[in-house]
């Protein structure tokens, strides 16, 4: 069964802290994605990785960085958390072979609150 897991379901951090959100997939997918989800805005792409050590900025990369050292793991880093980064963060993965036909598989999300 396809699985994307995220390290925490709920996380509370303080302003200025460095925050790591971890995502692991067990499907040997090449592509991985980080989104943030806010009411009324849908899902917005922060960063994606099309393969190991490859990364590309999405629509809202400011204040975030990512790391993909292993194929199965994609980390989102908030270098200095701010209150406007309070949000739901969703990770997804996708197989490259087969092209655009392939769906993205999503993790359950991490609800991050920055105080």
């Amino acid at each position: 069964d396809v699985k994307v897991t995220q390290s925490s379901r709920y996380l509370v951090k303080r302003t200025g802290e460095k925050v790591f959100l971890e995502c692991v997939q067990d499907m040997d997918h090449e592509n991985m994605f980080w989104y943030r989800q806010d009411p009324g805005l849908g899902l917005r792409l922060i960063y994606f990785s099309y393969d190991v050590k490859m990364k590309e900025k999405g629509d809202i990369p400011e204040g975030y960085s990512v790391s993909r050292e292993k194929k199965e793991r994609f980390s989102l880093i908030l270098e200095s958390a701010s209150t406007n980064q309070t949000s739901m963060y969703l990770c997804a993965s996708r197989r490259l072979a087969g092209g655009a036909y392939n769906e993205q598989f999503f993790g359950p999300g991490t609800r991050l609150t920055v105080l």
Partner: protein, 115 residues
């Protein structure tokens, strides 16, 4: 720029009634279109997708969607709604080359089901 519009933020229907959720897209070429559902506390799950061919697409859980190029629409329908269908629904359009294929999401429609 590519975009997806879901004009209804909330929709309430009675259990057993029919459902139609609207989605309009803006895309220069033939679009690849998706509908995802997010149940409370869950990640997103793919309901159905359209790439080419028959414009009426069948999905899981009894959902279907119809692609209408002339109206730039991809509306989701279900003939008889169940209480378990209460969730948030997202329409998305695919964008990019195979290696860096991304999804652009609408802002979502929250479905409430009256008993």
């Amino acid at each position: 720029a590519q975009s997806v519009t879901q004009p209804d933020i909330h929709i309430t229907v009675s259990e057993g009634a029919s459902l139609e959720l609207r989605c309009n897209y803006s895309y220069g070429a033939t679009p690849y279109l998706f509908w995802y559902v997010q149940s409370p506390g869950q990640g997103l799950q793919l309901l159905l997708k359209y790439f080419s061919g028959d414009t009426l697409v069948q999905g899981i859980k009894g959902f279907e969607a119809e692609f209408k190029r002339s109206q730039s629409s991809f509306n989701l329908r279900k003939p008889s709604v169940h209480w378990s269908d209460a969730a948030e629904y997202f329409c998305a359009v695919g964008d990019g080359r195979d290696s860096s294929y991304k999804l652009i999401f609408g802002s979502g429609t929250r479905l409430l089901v009256r008993p």
